[in-house]
Structures are given as structure tokens and as C-alpha cells.
């Protein structure tokens, strides 16, 4: 069973969201997603300053098996990216919720986060998949 931290929010397309103290959102892909993809060999994150719509495909994760899009959980502007992923994509495999974070987002509407799945809701998504 994959790790689903209780304090995070989730999207059915396997992204996680952490609300930071200053209101920005940190975003990555879940433990389940990295396990399903296998060893990652390439990660592309959106540029800082890019404005994203909710559910917009804005990042790519590529394993030896397949390349997959990663989607913006809510609308907002990219405020920071994890530069380390360019040279060490394996961080997404080894530590998906901490060192493997992908980008930070300044949400257009902070209330949007409330509509995302909680840990129990995401666990249900995985069960029925």
C-alpha cells in the first residue's frame, strides 16, 4: 500500500498539494504515481511566472516505460520550481512528498484548495482504480 500523508490534499490524477504557512501551494506527484511510473529519468516543470488554469497539463514526468503529463491542481501562478529535479529526477521516486516536490503555486483563489480530495478520498480513488 502506498504512502498517503494525512495532512496533504490530493487530485485524482495523482498530484498532491501542501498548503504552506504563507498561503503558497507546494505540488508534486504521489507515492502511488511514482511507483506506477517506475524509475523516472526526466522531469519537466513549468517556468516560474507561468499562469496555470486548473487541470492544465503543465509538467511532464518520464520513466523508461512512459511519459505522463502532470496537471495543475488549481489555478494560479508558478512561484518556484524544484531545480534539483533536472539533474536528479530519482528524487521523485525516493522522496515524493519532500525532496521530490515539483513546483510552488500562488493560487488565484486560495479557497479552491478546499475542493480537492483529502487523504481518505484519494485512498478511495486508488482502491477503485
Amino acid at each position: 500500500m502506498s504512502n498517503i500523508p494525512a495532512e496533504l490534499k490530493y487530485v485524482a490524477s495523482h498530484e498532491w498539494v501542501r498548503v504552506e504557512a504563507d498561503g503558497t501551494l507546494t505540488i508534486g506527484i504521489t507515492d502511488h504515481a511514482q511507483g506506477a511510473l517506475g524509475d523516472l529519468v526526466f522531469v519537466e516543470v513549468p517556468k516560474v511566472g507561468r499562469k496555470l488554469a486548473a487541470n492544465e497539463a503543465c509538467a511532464v514526468v518520464e520513466s523508461v516505460k512512459a511519459a505522463s503529463d502532470v496537471y495543475a491542481p488549481v489555478a494560479g501562478e508558478v512561484s518556484a520550481i524544484n531545480e534539483a529535479l533536472a539533474s536528479t529526477p530519482e528524487l521523485l521516486n525516493s522522496d515524493p512528498y519532500q525532496a521530490g516536490w515539483m513546483w510552488k503555486l500562488k493560487p488565484a483563489n486560495p479557497a479552491d484548495v478546499a475542493a480537492l480530495l483529502d487523504a481518505a478520498g484519494y485512498a478511495k480513488v486508488l482502491e477503485t482504480a
Partner: protein, 486 residues
């Protein structure tokens, strides 16, 4: 045993001419000013060394001529020798592409006939043979869709719809032509989700790209309804010919309502492919796209064949290659089509489908899980190893590698992306029952091995010149160019 690179065999001054006297090697006709000052970085080997090197490598090929090659969605069928023999006639080989039309009537007649045969078997109004590969055929097809909308002064169409089961080339082509690719989901039975399609079409829809049978190995049953929905919205239908082999002579894309189709002649019409190619991606169009076809096309005035060019098709999307595509490959496809005839083409689809369904039924009986157990296979089908992965940690890659030891090329693995741990298996019509049975035996044996000793299967292959590669390290530390030792 590993074979060194030809560069590693190199020795300064060694050359093909070996014992031939130096006086006979003078190329004195080339003026001094035109000769290069430094030698090119080519391997310096004798003729015999070069011959042995490449002969040894060729003996290690896994190819149609040596092994069963059930690579799904690739239609790796046998290429009849007769096609090659006739296409290699000196009268074809030695015809210069700039030879006058009066001296090229034989070649042009073959190309004209091939256009007519392809029109007939696909139900399209026109065919251009010039695209040099499947990807270029797709490019040409979407370029014609764009040209059609522009010619009507309709610039609002910015989207191409693509089912999530599509080949990756479809959204890539749409994007390359300046469209936004919009994904349409597939339902649990493998058909396009009609309600999602209805919700997605509109005045922004330029067209939809479909493969039928789809990459899931099933026939899209509501194709007429889909065609109606897209046409009513003003969009066009693009047929990806990847799986044309399944329906050859049985159903025609033109009758299903498609406006443009590309045919992979290197698949359906049995010209060499899979690294051997080159490919050929002929396109067929409905009446309304005729003016936009890529040139040159072969036309006929009475008994005389001639190239149709810009003067004949002023709205053409233009030329895709210097001459007429891969002419030698087109000749092979022509011979193949003529050898089969109308009845033979029907048999191609029937036997391709029969072989796939036989293999599917036998694997199901042996306990393998099908991705779409409720559907009949078209010419290919999908086995999912989701259960074996959970129970034994046996993956699609493990089976693919171990199959090599049993003398079979692996099926397509991890595609389509929708199905976890999948094998996409396409036997084609050219395999006999005995081979299919041996393939089933091998899969059953590998599963049994995995139950006994999964580590052994994960160590495969054992009989190949190269053992299991570290594909993750290879991708992370890309090293693909030879660097001479200094």
C-alpha cells in the same frame, strides 16, 4: 560474445585495397584544390574486416526472416520475396528520377495503378503516394484538414480531438500543425465515450483523429455516430491507418465517413519496416479534400501517364520530398497488392483476425487476463499482467526479456498507456498455427518459471549477446556517440 565497434577495429593506414598495388589507387583526376587536407574520422579497416563485422552483426538480428515478431500495432508481417525481386528489376532501379515522362511510362503506370488500388480498398476519392513515412502521412493529412478550413475562410477551428487510446503520433502531429490536441476518454468496453465527444465538439473543432480498430485491439462500433457528431460540428475525420490490416477488403474507411486516411504501406502492404524501411505513408482523401493533396500525383491522359503538379493542383499543400516519396518501396507495395488481388486482401484481414483471436482464446484458457475480455479481438489484443505483477512481481518487461530466450521477439509492452503491465500482441496473417502454439507454450512456461523462481526470470535474457540492460541508467546518463580513446 560481444562484438567490438568497427571503430575499435580501426588501425591507421589500413584500407580496403589491401594488397592492390598503390599505383592503381591514384585518384589523380581530382584537382589538388578540391582534396581535403585532413582525413575524415572514419574507421580504417580492411574490406574483409568490414564484411565480417557486419555479417556477424546481421546474424544476431531478431527479424521476421528468423523469428516470430508479434509486435502489436506494428504489423510485422512477412515481406514476400517476389515484391523485392520485381522492384529490383534493372528497368526500375536504373530509372533516374528526372528521366522524362516519355521514358518512365512503366514506372508511372505502376504508381497510377497503386493509387487506384488504394482508392478502391479504402473507399477514398483520391490518393497521393508521396509521404515518406507514417508520420509524414499524418502531417500531410492534418495539413490538408487545415488547408480545407482555411480555404473556406474558417479560422476559428483550433482543436483536434484525439481519443486517449490514440498513438502518441496523433496529438504530436496535431500540435505540430498548430492545433491544440484535446483528449477524449474511452469507455470500459474500449469504445470512444460518446457523451464526452458530444461535449467536446464545437465551432473550434477542426477534426478528430481515430484509429479503427483502435490501439486497444477492438473495432470502434459507433463509428457512424462519431462521424455524424464531428461532421455536424463542421469538423473532419482523420483515419490513422496503423491498424488497416484488420479490415483490409472488409470495411472501407471512406464508407465509415472518414475524410482523410494515411496508410502505412510498410505495415499493411508488407514493405520492409522496423529499422529496415524506409516507410511509405500514402494518404487518401474524400472528395472535398482532393484539391489539397500533396504532389506529385500520377495522372492519366488517354494512354499516357504524367505527373500532376502545382499547375494541376494549385491548392496543394505542396511537396513532401524531392521526388515521389520512397519510389522503390511503393513498387514493392504495388507488387504485393497485385499478387493478392481483391480476394487476397480479404483473406489478409480474415487470417490476421483469426490468428489474433486464436491466440487470445488460447491465452485466456491458460489463465492470462485480457484487458477487454468482453470483446472480440481485431488483428491484435491486450493481455494485462496486473495480477501477476501484484502476486509475483512478474512484469511485462520480464516476460519480454525472457521470451527472447525462447526464440520469440517480445510483443509491444507498456502500450497503450491505459492498460497496466500490458502486452499488445499482433501475430499477423503470415504465421501458422504451430508457431502460435509454441508462443503460447513459451508464455505459459515463463509464468510457471516466475512462480518457481522470480529472480531467474528477472535475470533474463540468458542466451542473447547482451544480457538485461540497465535501461534507467542508460536513460539518465545518455551516452550514444562513439568517442575514440586518446
Amino acid at each position: 560474445m560481444s562484438e567490438p565497434l568497427i571503430f575499435e577495429r580501426s588501425s591507421p593506414g589500413r584500407a580496403a585495397h589491401a594488397q592492390r598495388p598503390a599505383a592503381a589507387q591514384q585518384l589523380s583526376a581530382i584537382p589538388e584544390s578540391l582534396r581535403r587536407k585532413a582525413a575524415p574520422a572514419m574507421p580504417e579497416v580492411s574490406e574483409l574486416q568490414a564484411v565480417r563485422h557486419y555479417t556477424r552483426l546481421s546474424k544476431r538480428n531478431f527479424s521476421i526472416d528468423t523469428h516470430f515478431y508479434p509486435l502489436g500495432s506494428c504489423t510485422m508481417k512477412y515481406n514476400p520475396r517476389a515484391c523485392n525481386t520485381l522492384a529490383m528489376l534493372p528497368e526500375f532501379l536504373q530509372r533516374h528520377p528526372l528521366a522524362p515522362m516519355s521514358h518512365s511510362q512503366g514506372f508511372l503506370a505502376c504508381m497510377y495503378d497503386l493509387q487506384e488500388i488504394l482508392k478502391d480498398v479504402t473507399g477514398m476519392a483520391g490518393v497521393s503516394l508521396t509521404p515518406m513515412a507514417g508520420a509524414q502521412g499524418e502531417f500531410a493529412g492534418v495539413a490538408m484538414i487545415r488547408a480545407y478550413h482555411r480555404a473556406r475562410g474558417d479560422s476559428a477551428r483550433t482543436e483536434i480531438l484525439v481519443p486517449d487510446a490514440a498513438h502518441g503520433t496523433n496529438p504530436a502531429t496535431a500540435t505540430m500543425m498548430g492545433y491544440t490536441a484535446r483528449e477524449i476518454p474511452t469507455d470500459a468496453e474500449g469504445d470512444v465515450d460518446i457523451e464526452a465527444l458530444r461535449a467536446a465538439v464545437g465551432p473550434q473543432t477542426a477534426g478528430i483523429m481515430l484509429t479503427n480498430p483502435s490501439t486497444l485491439g477492438v473495432f470502434e462500433r459507433r463509428i457512424k455516430q462519431i462521424a455524424g457528431i464531428v461532421h455536424d460540428a463542421g469538423g473532419l475525420l482523420y483515419y490513422d491507418g496503423a491498424n488497416l490490416n484488420a479490415i483490409l477488403g472488409q470495411v472501407r474507411p471512406g464508407d465509415m465517413g472518414f475524410d482523410v486516411i494515411h496508410m502505412n504501406l510498410h505495415k499493411t502492404f508488407s514493405t520492409p519496416h522496423g529499422g529496415g524501411g524506409p516507410g511509405a505513408g500514402a494518404v487518401g482523401v474524400s472528395q472535398r479534400l482532393l484539391p489539397f493533396m500533396p504532389i506529385p500525383i500520377v495522372g492519366k491522359d488517354g494512354d499516357h501517364f504524367r505527373w500532376l503538379d502545382e499547375a494541376d493542383l494549385p491548392q496543394s499543400i505542396g511537396r513532401l520530398s524531392t521526388f515521389m516519396g520512397n519510389a522503390g518501396v511503393l513498387l514493392r507495395a504495388y507488387v504485393y497488392a497485385r499478387m493478392l488481388g481483391r480476394d487476397g486482401m480479404r483473406r489478409v484481414a480474415e487470417y490476421a483476425t483469426l490468428n489474433a483471436n486464436y491466440l487470445q482464446a488460447r491465452l485466456r484458457a491458460q489463465g492470462f487476463d485480457l484487458a477487454f475480455p468482453g470483446r472480440r479481438a481485431s488483428h491484435e489484443f491486450i493481455v494485462t499482467l496486473k495480477r501477476q505483477k501484484q502476486q509475483l512481481d512478474l512484469t511485462a518487461t520480464d516476460i519480454a526479456k525472457r521470451l527472447l530466450d525462447y526464440g520469440f521477439h517480445a510483443p509491444t509492452v507498456y502500450f497503450p498507456l491505459l492498460v497496466p503491465e500490458c502486452l499488445l500482441i499482433e501475430p499477423t496473417e503470415t504465421e501458422d498455427k504451430a508457431t502460435l502454439d509454441l508462443f503460447v507454450d513459451a508464455l505459459v512456461a515463463i509464468w510457471a518459471e516466475a512462480k518457481r523462481d522470480i529472480a531467474y526470470v528477472k535475470g533474463a535474457p540468458y542466451t542473447m549477446p547482451v544480457r538485461r540492460l540497465d535501461d534507467v541508467r542508460a536513460a539518465r546518463q545518455l551516452d550514444i556517440r562513439y568517442q575514440p580513446a586518446r
